[in-house]
């Protein structure tokens, strides 16, 4: 019977939890990083505001926010792809951020058009290559566009077109080259695949390290996780065998995507939500975050983790407004379908 009592108690708590803790900030997040939990605890320690979390797939969380309407308990939507932020922005669910601290520390191309959201961390989609297979002269000055050339036939691995990072990359190409040229590019690029797209970003890096392919396209932070050893000895060894190339250094720069967050219009605790964003963008927290997630920081004067810094910091970033990725995402996915990118 004690067991049933416990269950009833849990049921009751689930109904009442919002009332008991008056000072809250409710975060809907599609970032599933363990390290974020420590940050939330730190925020509570500093401010006394409790951070309540629901994590899930970005698009599903969006549907929940939309359905909940004005009664939604959500204060913050926190996610890992610019496309997801754009979707919420387009639905008109975000309010503009007016915190001076936030606006002064984040460059305009990493915020929503009307400051609906802000980037919290950055990642670059870079080329990982096997230095035994690719000469420095080949890789130097290499651009994303070059990857459609015949010399790379059967030498490239990349994950499936269902992945949002690939969709954003293609969207950025559409923004810069136009749809027609991007489609010609994609058709050539697909011919250069060493294998049918499969696995996640990390398995692409491993494939290069093992000699299954000569180069892979993947997000920058994966190499940090692998080098840190937290994913096991073998991945650490594999990571040591590959090098990073930042493409398009002579023109627009390497493709950048973001982790970002915004405050919802219906937010019941907007003041706390603002504090939360300012907290995420404070130097101390930025450092703490990128040391564990291996992303690049947004705020100036903060260095990425040592693993990531070792690949160089003075590279040129593509300044294409990340909000365009979301807008062009449906176009990108249809284009990839037409090009036979599985």
């Amino acid at each position: 019977m004690a067991f049933m009592k416990k269950i009833l108690y849990l049921l009751l708590i689930s109904f009442l939890s919002e009332i008991i803790f008056a000072d809250n900030v409710n975060v809907y997040t599609s970032r599933h990083y363990d390290s974020d939990d420590a940050l939330y605890e730190e925020f509570t320690k500093e401010t006394g505001i409790k951070v309540n979390i629901i994590s899930g797939k970005g698009s599903a969380l969006l549907e929940r926010i939309k359905s909940e309407g004005i009664n939604s308990p959500a204060d913050i939507f926190f996610t890992v792809d610019a496309g997801n932020l754009w979707k919420v922005q387009k639905e008109g669910l975000f309010q503009s951020i007016n915190s001076k601290k936030v606006l002064s520390s984040v460059p305009a191309e990493l915020r929503g058009p009307n400051d609906e959201w802000t980037a919290v961390a950055k990642r670059a989609r870079v080329i990982f290559y096997n230095p035994m297979k690719i000469r420095p002269s080949e890789i130097q000055d290499l651009t994303y566009e070059d990857l459609a050339n015949e010399e790379w036939r059967n030498r490239i691995v990349i994950r499936s077109s269902s992945n949002m990072y690939n969709q954003s990359l293609v969207a950025s190409l559409i923004a810069n080259l136009g749809e027609e040229d991007t489609e010609i590019w994609a058709k050539g690029f697909v011919k250069n695949f060493a294998r049918k797209p499969q696995g996640n970003d990390r398995s692409q890096i491993i494939a290069v390290s093992n000699g299954e392919a000569d180069m892979a396209i993947a997000n920058s932070y994966y190499i940090g996780i692998m080098l840190s050893g937290s994913a096991g000895k073998e991945q650490e060894e594999a990571a040591k065998r590959v090098k990073i190339h930042f493409p398009n250094q002579n023109d627009r720069g390497v493709h950048i995507n973001i982790s970002g967050a915004g405050i919802l219009k219906s937010s019941p605790n907007p003041v706390n939500a603002n504090l939360f964003l300012e907290f995420l963008l404070s130097k101390k927290v930025q450092k703490h975050m990128v040391d564990r997630s291996y992303e690049y920081p947004i705020v100036e004067g903060v260095l990425p983790s040592s693993e990531i810094s070792s690949f160089g910091l003075n590279f040129k970033e593509d300044n294409t407004a990340v909000s365009q990725f979301g807008e062009l995402n449906p176009k990108a996915i249809r284009l990839m379908d037409r090009s036979g990118w599985k």
Binding site: Q167, Q198, N210, P330
Partner: protein, 527 residues
């Protein structure tokens, strides 16, 4: 009236998904039709066909062997053959790639034993549709095994003896007599397998296979077109509905139930040593691929992980999973019981159709169904509960509702087949003795359906522990289940950290399966 009202509410998320068919059709349909739909349909069809054939043979053959023969390990296999049910398909998929990728643990092991170069891979690539067929078949065949076994146990011995006298070989008896007789039951089990395969996203996504389900998610998440995604899901639902009707009509035509209460217990045939070895091997392979292999890899990963896994959060998470499983198991089984009871006395009524509809809802991809649930819950919240606050969504109660909707098919199939064994003459006798209405349910049906009721509860429990998409989106703040913890790590492919909660899912899944297998053993003594 109560069962009817409940069914209407529970079917609402499915109605919401289906209602998309009457909405607008976007231009994305032209794109889908021109470039990808044919691929989605053909790969899904291939996947389903492969899985159906494989589970049918694995399920029926192993069931046949353990019910008819005595061989080394028989009593062990009788219950252990259902163990793979505790492994969610996506976890088997992750362990498969962990083992069989060119630099997976299995390939590394073989290379180090035989001192081979790193360019040699012994095992074939699993990240393709064949790999997916194996993954689904070896985690889901127990559904077919369970029903086939109880059907074989109910087969009369004299029938088989007559067949032998008429010149059929042992194998002939299996293929030409026993198998056709249990076909309806086996197909019922296969329907569950097919529906679960269709609704799965994790495993096919991990293997990067373009199926109908992954297409639904691409359309929703990539093209931002939920409407078209729901229309795709509805089409899937209609096809499953068609299958369902076909299965029903085949079941009606083939009513082979034996009402002969004087049927003689089975004498198992003792196998000679060579045949005993083959029987052992045939039963061992599914158990090995579906359970021993993934569990070994998970334990290996768990040891590689640096963080200790038994901490306060882990215990709380396990408690959440267990209590949700128990409550939803009992509630869903009870619901299926009263609905089937109502159907029994109003045959052909609309309630029967609703019950079938709720069953085929099992085939809707979890996330899509969850969207329907969110819309239903918010509607109830706004109109019936508290129009100024969200109460139902994000509450444990809402989560339980979601589990009932999602797992009703499992409970229903078990209770339904239980009811098929209660003859209408028993109803008449109990009426004569003064038990009518709900009294009959409590005093006559429930005792007779005890086994079916327990099976229903346990099947739902093992499913709830594994359930992910609805839990992710509908759970309260700061509330994790083991499946959620596993997903959070596995989504990042941090398999070492994902291993501990995954093992816990399996261990908890083993509890209901332990009771199921106990029932199997006791039914054997009776049978």
């Amino acid at each position: 009236m109560l069962p009817f009202a409940l069914l209407i509410i529970f079917c609402a998320p499915i109605f919401i998904v289906l209602s998309s068919l009457f909405g607008e059709y976007s231009d994305n349909w032209i794109h889908l039709y021109n470039y990808v739909l044919a691929d989605y349909v053909s790969s899904t069809f291939f996947l389903i066909s492969g899985v159906s054939v494989l589970v049918f043979f694995i399920g029926t053959i192993t069931a046949w062997i353990v019910t008819n023969y005595d061989f080394y390990g028989k009593s062990f296999f009788e219950w252990s053959l259902i163990l793979p049910l505790s492994i969610p398909p996506y976890i088997l998929a992750y362990t498969f790639t962990g083992l069989f990728d060119p630099f997976g643990d299995a390939n590394n092991l073989i290379r180090s034993i035989f001192n081979l170069g790193s360019d040699v891979s012994i095992f074939p690539n699993v990240r393709n549709i064949y790999g997916a067929i194996v993954v689904f078949s070896f985690t889901l065949y127990p559904y077919v095994y369970l029903v086939s076994r109880s059907a074989f146990l109910n087969q009369s011995k004299s029938m088989k003896e007559s067949a032998r006298l008429l010149g059929l070989s042992e194998i002939g008896v299996f293929f030409r007599l026993s198998l056709p007789i249990i076909r309806p039951a086996a197909i019922g089990g296969m329907m569950l397998v097919i529906m679960e395969t269709l609704s799965d996203f994790g495993a096919v996504d991990h293997f990067a296979i373009q199926t109908f389900t992954t297409g639904i998610f691409r359309t929703w998440q990539g093209m931002y077109d939920l409407q078209t995604a729901m229309q795709l899901a509805s089409l899937l639902l209609l096809v499953v509905g068609l299958f369902f009707i076909l299965e029903r009509s085949s079941r009606n035509k083939a009513a082979f139930t034996s009402n002969d209460s004087s049927f003689r217990p089975e004498n198992e045939i003792r196998l000679p040593s060579m045949k005993s070895f083959w029987a052992f091997l045939i039963c061992f392979i599914p158990l090995f691929i579906g359970f021993i292999l993934p569990i070994t890899e998970l334990i290996f990963w768990a040891f590689e992980s640096e963080s200790s896994f038994i901490n306060k959060k882990f215990i709380q998470t396990s408690f959440n999973s267990v209590s949700l499983a128990i409550i939803s198991g009992l509630v869903t089984a009870f619901l299926a019981l009263i609905i089937n009871f109502s159907i029994r006395f109003k045959p052909g009524a609309i309630i029967k159709r609703l019950s079938s509809l709720l069953s085929i809802g099992y085939a809707v991809p979890g996330l899509i169904l969850a969207v329907g649930m969110v819309q239903l819950f918010i509607y109830i919240d706004n109109n019936f509960l508290d129009s100024t606050r969200i109460v139902l969504t994000g509450s444990i109660f809402g989560l339980l509702l979601a589990y009932i909707i999602k797992t009703y098919a499992l409970a229903n199939s078990s209770i339904e087949s239980g009811y098929e064994r209660i003859t209408s003459s028993m109803d008449d006798s109990s009426k004569l003795l003064g038990s009518t209405g709900w009294g009959m349910l409590a005093r006559v049906h429930l005792p007779l359906l005890k086994t079916s009721f327990l099976t229903a509860t346990l099947l739902v429990m093992s499913e709830v522990v594994k359930e992910l998409p609805a839990t992710l989106i509908l759970r309260p703040f700061n509330f994790e289940t083991l499946a959620v913890s596993t997903y959070i790590y596995a989504a990042e492919e941090r398999m070492f950290q994902a291993a501990s909660p995954a093992i816990a899912i399996v261990l908890i899944g083993l509890i209901p399966i332990f009771f199921l297998s106990k029932m199997i053993r006791s039914s054997n003594k009776l049978g």
